[in-house]
């Protein structure tokens, strides 16, 4: 497993992603499943360390609305790469809730989907697939870089000359 964040692989991920009943360590950044986060919210908020939540595809944001601004990591899952729900959740977080923390994709994160994920606002990708890791390292990823529609990271990239709405190249985003 490797974590690709903002254009390169990182080895010093400070986050601990906890399961449903792993104890919360006294210090350091932790991310918890959504249900557990909501249940233990009071204690967690008082902990004085960065907080994160793991949201399964299909769980949605209900109940989290008031906490999004205090989160530093949101992990969205792709149980199968054909399950596209987390793309929508990502855009809602970025565009509607103006979430600016780390947005991490995990699960079935494959090379042919990377650009879509980045455009929907993910800035961190947890990659298991060896071929994808190797291809990213070696710069062998061939994906369409041009796009016709606005999405979540458009403020990061300049419009294409000619002034046509929405047309961008997101070549630099991966």
């Amino acid at each position: 497993m490797a974590l690709y964040r903002n254009g390169s692989f990182v080895t010093d991920d400070p986050w601990r992603i906890l399961g449903a009943d792993e104890p919360v360590p006294p210090a350091g950044p932790v991310a918890l499943p959504k249900a557990r986060f909501l249940a233990e919210r009071e204690a967690l908020v008082g902990r004085n360390a960065p907080l994160g939540v793991v949201i399964e595809a299909g769980e949605g944001l209900d109940g989290l609305e008031d906490d999004i601004h205090r989160l530093s990591l949101i992990v969205l899952t792709f149980p199968k790469y054909t399950d596209g729900r987390s793309y929508s959740t990502a855009r809602i977080l970025r565009e509607r809730f103006s979430y600016r923390g780390e947005l991490r994709a995990t699960g079935n994160v494959l090379r042919d989907q990377l650009r879509f994920m980045v455009r929907c606002g993910f800035d961190a990708l947890e990659i298991v697939h060896e071929g994808t890791i190797a291809a990213l390292k070696e710069g062998r990823i061939k994906l369409v870089s041009l796009h016709y529609q606005p999405a979540s990271r458009d403020e990061d990239i300049p419009p294409i000359a000619g002034g046509r709405p929405w047309r961008r190249s997101s070549a630099g985003l991966l």
Partner: protein, 553 residues
């Protein structure tokens, strides 16, 4: 016609290279067939019974001579010399080698074509009225909006892994020639009382195993809001559509299970949120820029009546028949819309040979401002032909077996590829269509029967749209034998209805007789030649037909 600029060209070129890389990884074994499958499906490549099939997008069914000639070339060079036009206004090649697909896509890119999103669980190629720009009853050219939707939906980052495929159709007249009410989103361009353009919006239509007619969620959506509203519909569907069962995954099931009121509320809430951000509001200049591509050609000022045309009708019976059935009124006096039937008696519906494509390309360039359309009824259309020229066009078509005067008649049958090609089929479709066409080959008898749409699907996926056939035929498997279930009274136009199953199925031997029995029953029931099959069915219901069909049973 829309023309690519540098951006469009580079976009398609990058897509070709992306797919070339994917094919190379598949051929080298780096990708398993399982991993490759969704990638090839994103690009219209299916694995069929005998070979790979490549489905090429023909956005809203609009072609020109150059594109059609390139399709002919691909048919000859990479396939067996013919192609198959589909009910989604696309073209399929059924005998393709996977290794060749990247080169085929590169050849298509040269003429501004591609195969993006012709399959897969994404927003499919947007379809539109095949008479767009020519029909007398349209308020605007629907292709302007179809093109705007095409661009917005191309490799959309959020909507590429939907629960299931997603189809959008656009018309701009009260008469629905694109079956919009059986699409996930159906759009009718209209004007409000203030004269502004906008859309009536239907959602949740679809055929397949559970046919449903779309529900109207907006009577008038302002023009500039089109993309914001569609994005809202798609997002609600992407988040809430069922993913546990692929047969229940279409938007129609969500609308049905949650209820149209709840879905409409969700859509409106999402729409308000998207609109508040403002990112997708369509600038007027952009609409105008796209509209300019579809500006009417330089029509001549002609008298409404053409003496050449009238003389040819008086002269030749075959031309008179053609003029009656295959020439529709044009909005400009002195012009006609010519339907080129791909339903010659005994030919596979929708197939065209390379030579036929080239001939149509020539005729389009010479007589129709270089425009050709593909209809969802699997015919071709020359949209803008001078009445004066139609006799010459007819003569040229007749030479190539393309002048069958059967548009809208009983032999103008829609049929899916069926068991001759399709891995999912229960039964053959094409041979049934061919046998029905032979049975009713006599054109006088066809004319006597009048408007009648027969539609045939080889399995419950309903690619042949049998649910909306006046007579629908569905192939089923009965203990390993091909059987055919008949539905009556379906219609895909503005009076959209789903056909009713009339009774137990018929064997392959019996099915043509059954169709004939239905038609004879209709002829006996009608109050006059103006009363169409559909009108009679709606008046009397299915009982008399059932009695006639199962009298001896």
């Amino acid at each position: 016609m829309y023309r690519y600029d540098e951006f469009d060209r580079q976009f398609v070129a990058e897509r070709v290279e992306e797919f070339r890389d994917q094919v190379a990884r598949r051929l080298s074994g780096e990708l398993t067939e399982d991993e490759f499958r969704p990638l090839r499906l994103m690009n219209g490549v299916y694995l069929q019974l005998h070979a790979y099939m490549l489905r090429i997008a023909i956005p809203y069914g609009t072609l020109n001579g150059r594109k059609l000639r390139r399709l002919a070339h691909i048919a000859r060079r990479y396939d067996r010399g013919f192609g198959h036009f589909t009910t989604r206004q696309n073209l399929q090649f059924n005998w393709i080698r996977l290794e060749d697909v990247p080169d085929i896509l590169a050849e298509l890119a040269e003429v501004e074509m591609h195969a993006i999103q012709t399959s897969g669980n994404c927003i499919r190629n947007v379809s539109a009225d095949h008479f767009a720009g020519a029909a007398a009853d349209e308020v605007a050219d629907p292709r302007v909006y179809a093109e705007i939707l095409r661009q917005w939906s191309s490799l959309h980052p959020e909507f590429t892994f939907l629960p299931r495929k997603f189809k959008i159709a656009v018309v701009a007249s009260p008469a629905d020639r694109a079956a919009i009410q059986v699409h996930d989103i159906g759009l009718q361009v209209k004007r409000n009382e203030a004269g502004e353009l906008g859309f009536a919006v239907w959602v949740g239509g679809g055929l397949g195993r559970t046919p449903m007619i779309g529900r109207k969620v907006r009577d008038f959506l302002p023009e500039a809001e089109l993309l914001s509203y569609c994005e809202a519909i798609l997002r609600v569907y992407n988040l809430h559509g069922r993913r546990d069962n692929k047969y229940k995954a279409r938007l129609k099931i969500l609308v049905h299970e949650a209820g149209v009121d709840e879905i409409a509320r969700d859509i409106e809430a999402e729409y308000e949120a998207i609109r508040a951000r403002g990112a997708l509001a369509m600038p007027q200049e952009e609409i105008a820029r796209i509209r300019a591509y579809f500006a009417p050609p330089a029509f001549a000022q002609l008298p409404a009546r053409s003496s050449v045309f009238e003389a040819a009708k008086a002269d030749s019976r075959s031309f008179a028949l053609f003029a009656e059935r295959n020439v529709a009124p044009h909005k400009v006096p002195g012009y006609g819309i010519v339907t080129i039937s791909l339903k010659a008696i005994g030919a596979p519906p929708g197939d065209a040979t390379a030579e036929q494509m080239e001939l149509v390309a020539d005729l389009a360039e010479r007589y129709s401002f270089d425009e050709v359309r593909v209809s969802h009824e699997q015919n071709l259309v020359l949209p803008h032909v001078r009445l004066d020229d139609i006799p010459a066009v007819h003569a040229a078509l007749a030479e190539a077996n393309l002048a069958t005067p059967n548009a809208g008649l009983v032999t103008d049958i829609i049929a899916c590829p069926g068991l001759d090609y399709c891995a999912l089929a229960n039964a053959r479709s094409i041979p049934v269509a061919q046998r029905i066409a032979r049975r009713f080959a006599d054109i006088e008898r066809q004319k006597q029967i009048g408007d009648l749409k027969i539609k045939i699907s080889g399995c419950i996926n309903a690619c042949g749209h049998h649910h909306v056939g006046h007579i629908g035929i569905l192939g089923v498997d009965r203990k390993g034998e091909e059987f055919y279930q008949i539905t009556l009274g379906g219609s895909g136009d503005e009076t959209c209805s789903i056909g009713e199953i009339v009774g137990k199925g018929f064997s392959s031997e019996e099915v043509v007789d059954a169709v004939e029995t239905i038609i004879e029953t209709y002829l006996g029931l009608r109050q006059g030649p103006e009363e169409t099959f559909l009108a009679v069915f709606r008046r009397v219901g299915e009982a008399p037909f059932r009695e006639a069909l199962y009298a001896d049973a």
